[in-house]
Structure formats: structure tokens, C-alpha cells
């Protein structure tokens, strides 16, 4: 056994790292969290929706004291082209009472609050310090090197929650190089409005209630991506994330995409007159299950974005991060009983994650990234057909209804062919099976 400064070093004060540190500190483990930002949350970006469940298990009824914006009661899904959108969604009072389903949050505030709880629980938090590499002795991770003078730290175990780029996981060879077809670039603005404006424009009665809108379809010009609008207390988060390969191939700049989204006739009335308060951008790992690396090594575990734990279909990420952080901490606690922090013991961490919804959800969609990469038209042509069909049905122009339906059927046949349609349906069914 070499030197030891702490039991556990957690790298990164995002939801994964802080969940791990919280569990460890509560169990009396001597844990240090190293964050590169000025304070936790200063560098953290997400779309803006935070799910209750995993956090509630950690800190019961956290939403009563945490800085949340609104609890979400309505979720809309838009298929959008340049002039129309076809809307679906669910608004339910079942999500309008405690314990709630999910919340809109502003991460700079939320993460700061979370870090306070972690420090109160007994963890040591060090800001403005960059971890540059793991310290490896005899094939085992024994600590980390930081960019500060006298900056080496030693511990039984290092939990890397250092985000999508995870230099730690990369330098240990756990992660393959991220390719631009497996990551999206998300850009986002927070647009300030009055509380009343947000309520009126999104059809909300009580300022505590919120609405989300996810948008995809032909307005993306065949690129794979998703746009979103989330209501905060007195602002709206609006953003768009697109696979980087697509941006390159279409010679598109994400800022321009966001500008055109903001000026879309369906979007503009919701945010018009607002003042942009913040501008944020971040890389989102969208490779799914197949890009999830081996999440452990001797004395080392990886959690959150660093382990590529993002479910892009259901816009989940921060909840998976919290869950993985918790499980990494629990695995450490088990390992501590035997004093064995070898790869073999820590492999239980990944097994545990496989047993939870985290990896089960990702596994269910494991073929989706490739399917969409092969068949980008699924994201444009079917939504376009739906928009056109709905427009036809709702247009009263003297054309008899039977003729309208024949016309729609004809369109379906000419655009996809019955065989093509059957093939696409079969492929989707098979890939998701």
C-alpha cells in the first residue's frame, strides 16, 4: 500500500460525482471531490429537465428545498417542418401533485445547492482544480495528478465523473475515441420573460407548473437531432442538439440552427420579446449502449456522461448520472469491507447497473443509433407525410373526404411504396426487439 490522503477521490462535481460523494460521505468515508469550475454548476450544462426518482431516493423530498424552477405537468412532442408543426403530448394532473415526475432546473443553481448538501454530509470539495491524469502504480489506479503545485493525491479508489470528454477514462484506455457520429453538439439559450408571459404563452395556470416541448422532423433538413423548449419560472430554455457528423456534412453551424428555430412561426410567439440571459453549449454522448465502456479498473470506476450514460430517445442523462454515481459509491462500500479494490471486485458496479433501468433502457435502444445513421429519412419523410396528411384532413376545400383519403393513401404509396413501408416497419421492430 502506498501513500493515502483520502479513501476515495471523486473527479467532477456534476450529478454523478456528487451523488457518489454524498453516499460515501454519509457512510463516513473520507472523500474529496475535485471540480475544475469556479463552483459546482458553473460549467455544467443540460437541456434543463431533471427527473425526481433517483435524487429522491438519495435526498428524500429534495424538491422542497432545492432550487427548482417548475414541476412538469405537460410534455409535448412536435413534428415540425418549415411552416407547420404536428403536435402530440400528454398533460396530466397525475404529474401535478407530490412527489412529482420531473422538474425544470437551472443547473448553475441546482448543482451549487447539491454541492452544499454533499459538503454538509462531510465530503471535501475543491474547486478550480483540473485533474490531469490518473496515477497508476503496478497496474492499479492509486490516485490522481492535478494541475496545482504539490497536486498529487492518493486514495483507495478514484471515481471518474469528469464528463463526456473523460480524460481519465481515456487515459486508462477504457474508452475508445469518440467519433463525431456518436456525439451531438447541443446549444441552448435561456430567454428571460415574465412569469405571467410564460404562464400565458404555455397555457399554465399556476407558476409552479411547467411545460416541455421536444421538436424533431423535417425542419432539421435530414440531420439527426432534437430541439427543445422548457419553461422555467421566468424564462424559457430553448436549445437544439444535432449529431456532429451531420453538422459537418450539411455545413451547418449550430448557432444558425438555433437562430432559425427561434424564428420559426410555431416557436417565435412563445419567446418573442424575451431577452437572452445565458448562452450555453455542450457535447452530448449519443452513442447509446454500444458506446458504454468498461466502467471499472483496479481502483477505478467511471460514472455519468464519462461512461456515456445518456438516453437520447427519452432525453435522460442527469438521472442516469445520479443512479450510476450512487451505485459506484455502493460498490466501493462493499469493496471496503474486504479491503479489496481490484478490478474483479469493482466489476460488480457494472453488473449492478445492468440490473437497473439505466443499462436496460440503453440496451433496449442499442441498435437505434445505427438504424438512424443508415436511414436518416425515417426522421424526415415519415414526419413530413404525417404533417401533410393532417394538413389535408383539416383543410376544407370542397374536395369530398373519400377523395382526400384516397389522395393520402396515394401519397403514402408514391413516397414510400407499400414494400418500402413494410420493410421500414419490420426493420424498426427487429432493431428494437
Amino acid at each position: 500500500m502506498s501513500k493515502k490522503d483520502f479513501d476515495v477521490i471523486v473527479v467532477g462535481a456534476g450529478p454523478a460525482g456528487m451523488a457518489a460523494a454524498y453516499v460515501l460521505a454519509k457512510a463516513g468515508v473520507d472523500v474529496i471531490v475535485i471540480e475544475r469550475g469556479k463552483f459546482p454548476g458553473s460549467k455544467n450544462v443540460m437541456g434543463g429537465i431533471f427527473y425526481r426518482k433517483p435524487m429522491d431516493d438519495l435526498i428524500p423530498e429534495f424538491y422542497k428545498e432545492a432550487p427548482i424552477e417548475r414541476h412538469i405537468v405537460e410534455q409535448r412532442m412536435w413534428l415540425m417542418d418549415d411552416v407547420s408543426h404536428f403536435s402530440m403530448g400528454i398533460k396530466t394532473q397525475k404529474h401535478n401533485s407530490e412527489p412529482y415526475n420531473c422538474f425544470s432546473v437551472l443547473r448553475a443553481q441546482f448543482d451549487k445547492w447539491f454541492s452544499k448538501k454533499v459538503v454538509e454530509a462531510g465530503a471535501l470539495l475543491i474547486n478550480e482544480t483540473v485533474v490531469t491524469e490518473p496515477i497508476v502504480e503496478n497496474g492499479k489506479v492509486v490516485g490522481v495528478r492535478t494541475d496545482r503545485p504539490q497536486g498529487d493525491l492518493y486514495a483507495d479508489c478514484v471515481i471518474a465523473a469528469d464528463g463526456v470528454q473523460s480524460f481519465l477514462a481515456k487515459s486508462l484506455g477504457l474508452r475508445k475515441k469518440i467519433t463525431p457520429n456518436k456525439v451531438a453538439l447541443g446549444v441552448k439559450e435561456i430567454i428571460g420573460l415574465s412569469e405571467e408571459q410564460v404562464n400565458d404563452r404555455f397555457g399554465i395556470k399556476d407558476s409552479k407548473e411547467g411545460v416541455t416541448i421536444e421538436i424533431t422532423g423535417p425542419f432539421l433538413k435530414g440531420m439527426e437531432g432534437m430541439a427543445w423548449m422548457y419553461t422555467n419560472k421566468n424564462s424559457v430554455s430553448i436549445g437544439i442538439g444535432v449529431i456532429i457528423d451531420d453538422l459537418i456534412n450539411h455545413n451547418m453551424n449550430p448557432n444558425d440552427l438555433l437562430e432559425s428555430l427561434k424564428n420559426h412561426p410555431s416557436v417565435l410567439p412563445l419567446i418573442e420579446g424575451g431577452e437572452t440571459r445565458e448562452y450555453l453549449a455542450h457535447v452530448i454522448p449519443e452513442g447509446g449502449y454500444k458506446s458504454v465502456p468498461r466502467m471499472y479498473a483496479d481502483g477505478f470506476m467511471v460514472a455519468g456522461d464519462a461512461a456515456m450514460l445518456v438516453d437520447s430517445v427519452h432525453r435522460e442523462g442527469s438521472n442516469l448520472a445520479v443512479e450510476s454515481g450512487k451505485l459506484a459509491a455502493k460498490t466501493y462500500l462493499e469493496a471496503r469491507e474486504s479491503g479489496d479494490f481490484s478490478e474483479k471486485t469493482l466489476s460488480r458496479y457494472q453488473e449492478k447497473l445492468e440490473e437497473t433501468y439505466v443499462l436496460q433502457d440503453l440496451r433496449y435502444y442499442k441498435n437505434l443509433p445505427e438504424l438512424l445513421e443508415e436511414k436518416r429519412y425515417l426522421l424526415t419523410e415519415y414526419p413530413q407525410f404525417l404533417i401533410d396528411a393532417m394538413t389535408e384532413i383539416y383543410t376544407v376545400d370542397g374536395v369530398p373526404k373519400p377523395e382526400k383519403f384516397r389522395k393520402i393513401k396515394g401519397e403514402l404509396k408514391s413516397r414510400f411504396g407499400y414494400i418500402g413501408l413494410a420493410k421500414d416497419l419490420y426493420t424498426i421492430w427487429r432493431k428494437l426487439r
Binding site: 471535501l124 482544480t129 503545485p149 497536486g151
Partner: protein
């Protein structure tokens, strides 16, 4: 040697905007920082400690949130941190503030031993008075050297040091005895990237709170009521109009347009007929 640094927590001036309708500062959501000049005072004290041994104490008067400033001072290398916080200080001007800080410093000396060099920034960026440091120095009746840009030839045996201070027309080199009080310029040093052990110690160490109960501070010298300075009026200079852009297809065209605009002015100056 014992060094005592007086610091202030201020709103980050770079992020403060002015509400032109009411003429007041918009402080909402503006982060609080250590007054930039004070950071150089901390740095100077920590460097002297590292060179000659001893310890650095830091004191800050302010609301409970000023603890952040003291934590940051410790992560820069200060050893002891004291927060002077009490409701009776609310509304203090520089006279009342320098009294309170002087009384707090006496308490710190009681606990931590006599001070060789007192430090403060040359002024705070929010008030810009440059009075509080000198006010404390006067009460201690020690030599006061303001606008320090260099510290040389420190002699712990003879208790002397040499200082370079900035004047409007040049620099002045002064030798003084300790204890003394220095207010410092940013040019004094470049802030170092603190070693990790400093940060860890800062995270582990708590700040001691001083107030009217655990110090010998007399309320009759504190707060708004006992502050002779009254702010009668605060105003902001009018917002500058944006310059007019002259556009044209050719250089000659633009020059002609420009000339037409300035011709009347030139005429009144007698430059053209």
C-alpha cells in the same frame, strides 16, 4: 512573523450594470469577489510568510456570505481567517468601519500574537474611498505606507523593511520600522496558482466569527447612526450616444460627407473660410 490582512468582499464590478432610469447599480445575480487589490495584499503576506516563516491572518467585515471571501483567502495560503459580522455594523461609513476592524484586530492580536505587518488593498472597487486602511493604521499609531508596489530588504532582526510606493510623478523608496501598515497596488505581485494543500486546508478549516459579544467593540462607534458620512445624492453620468456611421461606395464620397459634417465646426474655429 505575523501578518494581518484586511480584506473586503465586493460585487464583481465587471458584471455590475447601471439602471439608467433609477441611477442605481443592479447588484442582483452579480457574484461577490475579494476586492482585487486585497488579493495582492494576501499574496504579498503569504510570500513573506513563506520566506521568513510565521503566519498570515485575514479578517473581513461583512455579512455571513463574506465567509466565501475568507475561504478563498485561506486557499491562497492564509492560515487564520476571521469574519467580523454583526448587525450593529450595518450602514457603517469608513470611520465606523475602520473603528470596528481596529477593535477586531486587537482581538486577533490577543489570540494570535502581535502583528509585524498589516496589509490592505489600496482601496475597494465598490467605494473607492481608500480611507479604511489608513483609518485602521492611524488608530494603531503605526507607520502607514500607501500605494506600495514593491517590498524589499525585509530584516526580521532589526524589524525594518524597504518599500517602493507609487506617486503621481514617479516612485518613492521608503524604509520603515515594523509594525507598519501597507496598502498595496496590483503591480506589487502576480497572483500565484495556489498549491493543492492550501485548498484542502481551506476546505477543512472553519472561519472564526467575531462580533460585539466576543470582542471589545463599543456599539456607540458603530453602524449608520455613528457614521458622519452621509450620501446626499448618487448619480450616473449620462449614457453616451453612439457615434454616427458614415457609409458610402467610394473613399472620396465618404470623405466629402465627413467634410460636410465638420465644416461648420471648422468655420467657427477659423480653420476654413
Amino acid at each position: 512573523m505575523h501578518f494581518l490582512v484586511f480584506i473586503k468582499q465586493v460585487p464583481d464590478a465587471a458584471q455590475v450594470r447601471v439602471d439608467y432610469e433609477t441611477g442605481t447599480l443592479i447588484r442582483e445575480g452579480v457574484p461577490a469577489i475579494i476586492n482585487p487589490f486585497d488579493k495582492h495584499a494576501i499574496e504579498a503576506a503569504v510570500r513573506l510568510k513563506n520566506q521568513f516563516g510565521g503566519k498570515v491572518s485575514v479578517v473581513c467585515m461583512g455579512p455571513p456570505m463574506a465567509e466565501d471571501a475568507l475561504k478563498e483567502a485561506m486557499s491562497m495560503g492564509a492560515d487564520k481567517a476571521f469574519l467580523l459580522s454583526d448587525r450593529i455594523f450595518a450602514g457603517s461609513d469608513t470611520l465606523a468601519t475602520s473603528y470596528a476592524l481596529w477593535a477586531a484586530a486587537k482581538q486577533i492580536i490577543k489570540e494570535e500574537g502581535p502583528v509585524d505587518v498589516f496589509f490592505a488593498g489600496k482601496q475597494a472597487i465598490d467605494g473607492d474611498t481608500a480611507q479604511t486602511g489608513p483609518g485602521i493604521a492611524t488608530r494603531f499609531n503605526v507607520p502607514l505606507i500607501t500605494y506600495v508596489v514593491d517590498i524589499k530588504n525585509v530584516d526580521p532582526e532589526k524589524k525594518t523593511l524597504e518599500l517602493v510606493r507609487l506617486l503621481e510623478s514617479g516612485q518613492e523608496v521608503i524604509q520603515t520600522t515594523m509594525p507598519c501598515f501597507l496598502t498595496v497596488e496590483e503591480e506589487l505581485n502576480t497572483l500565484s496558482y495556489a498549491p493543492l494543500p492550501y485548498l484542502i486546508r481551506a476546505a477543512k478549516t472553519s472561519v472564526k466569527v467575531l462580533n460585539s459579544k466576543n470582542t471589545e467593540i463599543e456599539a456607540e462607534y458603530c453602524g449608520l447612526k455613528n457614521s458622519p458620512t452621509k450620501v446626499r445624492k448618487a448619480f450616473t453620468p449620462p449614457k453616451r450616444e453612439r457615434g454616427e456611421m458614415i457609409e458610402g461606395d467610394s473613399v472620396d464620397g465618404i470623405i466629402n460627407q465627413l467634410y460636410e459634417k465638420i465644416e461648420p465646426v471648422l468655420k467657427t474655429m477659423g480653420k476654413v473660410q
